[in-house]
């Protein structure tokens, strides 16, 4: 037996004698209060008999939600869930800046304060390994627990796969447990201001080189053509993991680049390969020549806000970021925003990274059966169709809604939106290598990107990053 374990026992015995009971139980088993029973089967196995929406009548499900148009549409429709099932839903809503802090602390605290919550696919990599997320696979496969009309084949397959993982660093997505369900999502494409493109006689870029050129041209010429203070392209630049995953990662992947190489279960950082260094230099150069001023403070809000305020000629980010500015009455640029898949890679690749707002279940929930009914309703055809038509729940995670005539009519007034979506959808997937230190790695990556933008040599900065990450990730 190793020395640490022995020390720990002695130490705990000592503290136990001195400290009050809560101290011991808070720490003694780890502050996650790691008291879930291991090895037992899924609670889904307890559900038998014919499927019944009213199975959990009278129960209450507690949800933690992020302030978002998807959430607004969900809340507006909650009545129909309660009518259908007799289950009440209570919820807390937090803005995204605080949402994940809140959720993380709550899950780490080891309580079942919330039965269900919103999360992204990347969060599965952080929340999955400690056992905080319920594997929804057994629930989906149990026909007593899941209605036939839920129809898992209807989801875009890349989305369902993105929330599946075997919890092993570097193991590909799409195998292992289903730790969340896709609910609403974003592809990363280029949106542009049609006015400035028309006035300057420009066409959307088809290659990365053209995009860099185009961004510079807009920044030079647009202010003189009646677009006061307009620059070329808005992309995120703040010191946050969120800077890497939209436009940057999409273009990176289209250039055939990887974040890590995996060999025999070992991850090796690849952000400093000669090709990646060259790409990073080009990206920083594009931002310097055609990007926003004070780029290093740019988040989703500054980027999309500038497109709406007619300060950015293009936006390389989530299609929904541009959509929320493009809808009628949302901004001065409403009605003047068009969509384009963005530049192709050298081999014609339109590989695209994505963000999926997913819904997950707390592994410690005491009301899993009711929570599951909620999850299947919220990701079901009926609610999602209503949310897409009456609310702003786009992009649809279900193929049936993407094909739906009423949905297409609703989106048709946005030039290129549906076409762009359909062009990239099959090549859109999570382009990162799944691993638990994702947030550390991408935050450092963003900081490195800022330094390259600030004039430091891309090679030495990225070598330093790779060096730092190789000891942390794996």
């Amino acid at each position: 037996m190793d020395r640490h374990v022995h020390d720990r026992r002695r130490f705990l015995a000592l503290t136990g004698a001195l400290a009050a009971a809560p101290l011991l139980s808070a720490c003694g088993t780890g502050f996650g209060g790691d008291d879930r029973d291991e090895g037992g089967g899924s609670a889904a196995d307890d559900v038998t008999g014919a499927f019944d929406w009213k199975r959990e009548k009278g129960a209450t499900v507690k949800a933690l939600l992020n302030k978002h148009p998807y959430t607004d549409a969900l809340i507006a429709d909650l009545k129909s869930f309660t009518e259908k099932t007799g289950i009440e839903v209570t919820y807390d809503v937090f803005p995204e800046d605080n949402y994940f802090d809140k959720l993380t602390v709550d899950l780490a605290g080891g309580r079942a304060s919330y039965d269900v919550f919103m999360l992204g696919a990347y969060m599965v990599w952080q929340y999955g390994p400690p056992g905080w997320l319920e594997d929804l696979g057994p629930w989906m496969r149990n026909s007593s627990a899941t209605a036939a009309e839920w129809d898992r084949e209807d989801f875009f397959p890349n989305l369902l796969r993105a929330d599946q993982w075997s919890l092993k660093a570097g193991a590909p997505l799409g195998r292992g447990g289903q730790y969340a369900l896709p609910w609403g999502w974003e592809t990363n494409v280029v949106a542009y201001n049609t006015e400035v493109f028309r006035r300057l006689g420009l066409k959307p870029a088809e290659s990365f080189e053209e995009l860099r050129e185009l961004a510079g041209v807009i920044k030079r010429k647009a202010p003189g053509a009646g677009f006061d203070g307009m620059y070329g392209i808005a992309v995120r630049g703040s010191r946050s993991w969120a800077t890497i995953h939209p436009g940057f990662m999409t273009m990176y992947a289209r250039n055939g680049l990887r974040d890590f190489t995996v060999e025999g279960g070992k991850l090796t950082p690849a952000m400093n390969s000669p090709e990646a260094v060259a790409f990073t230099e080009d990206w920083a150069d594009m931002v310097r020549r055609g990007g926003p001023p004070s780029w290093t403070s740019y988040t989703w809000y500054q980027c999309s806000g500038d497109l709406g305020a007619r300060k950015a000629g293009m936006l390389f980010d989530a299609d929904t970021a541009a959509y929320f500015q493009a809808v009628k009455g949302a901004s001065p640029a409403s009605g003047k925003i068009a969509f384009h898949p963005g530049p192709k890679g050298p081999d014609g690749s339109l590989a695209t990274n994505m963000w999926i707002w997913s819904l997950g279940m707390n592994a410690r929930s005491k009301r899993k059966s009711a929570a599951w009914l909620f999850l299947q309703w919220a990701t079901g055809k009926e609610h999602l169709r209503r949310a897409a038509l009456d609310g702003d729940h786009i992009d649809p995670v279900r193929r049936s809604i993407g094909r739906d005539g009423a949905y297409r009519d609703k989106m048709r007034h946005l030039p290129g939106f549906i076409e762009t979506f359909e062009t990239v959808v099959d090549q859109t997937k999570i382009q990162f290598t799944p691993q638990a230190q994702f947030f550390d790695a991408t935050t450092s990556w963003a900081a490195a990107l800022q330094e390259v933008y600030g004039g430091k040599s891309a090679k030495s900065v990225l070598d330093g990053l790779a060096d730092d990450l190789s000891s942390k990730v794996g």
């Binding site: 809560p22 808070a26 209570t90 807390d92 800046d97 605080n98 809140k102 305020a309 949302a330 001065p332």
Partner: protein, 274 residues
Amino acid sequence: MRKRLWGWLADAALLLYFVFALFPVAWMLILSLKPADQLFSTYFSFTPTLDAYRTVLGDDEGIPFVRFFVNSLVVSLGAVALSLVVGLPAAYASARWRFKGSEHLMFTLLSFRFAPELTVIIPLFVLYQKLGLFDTYAGMVWVLQLVTLPLVVWIMRSYFADLTPELEQAALLDGYTRRQAFFKVALPLVRPGIAAVSLLAFIFAWNNFVFPLILTSHEAQTVTVGALSFLGGDRPKYHLTAAAALISVVPPLLLALTIQRYLVRGLSFGAVKS
């Protein structure tokens, strides 16, 4: 002549500072009066509207701001009251008697004010969940003692120290008990100090962000966390945040204007002789 020139220069410098100090507040006021679609397309000429205030106060965004406002009031006032009840006797004792360990205790109390919130936030979260204090008024009042108690003790201690003991001794000779001397003689004399310290403690409790962010969720959430909620969603609604922030300035401002005379002394931690 030269003196007058200096006077003008001094006034100009002062004015410059106040432009710096007040412009952001004025800008928040402007933001809060803008319609949503003119937030970024206009600077100073826009169509003013009270919509932002209506939205914030009418809970239209699904954010029950009025309830957060009431929560903030309850929690801040509760924290100040508890700090006074507990802190006044302590301050009195340490000012009147030099006893073993008093300086250490005083310094430890002060040092709480400087402790990084992150040290305690995760342990507190775990603890509160176990004790059922999470998302409750009681839990917030307790944790806010970190902010308010050191203020109360340190300021009130020097107020009591400034008070000559002879007054209380005279009262004792008149047959007052110690307790009566404290309540009937000492306390009324330091009333200005109590007013000032209450205001200060109230402001700091009211503006606290990290504790309510992590330790409350639905029932006991406060305005600082609530005001930020308007920045989520499809587009950041800065006009709503500005309106919410300005609304939440009202209680401390009213308090400040009422007892400004006392405030000056309170802010100096009682070091100032009036």
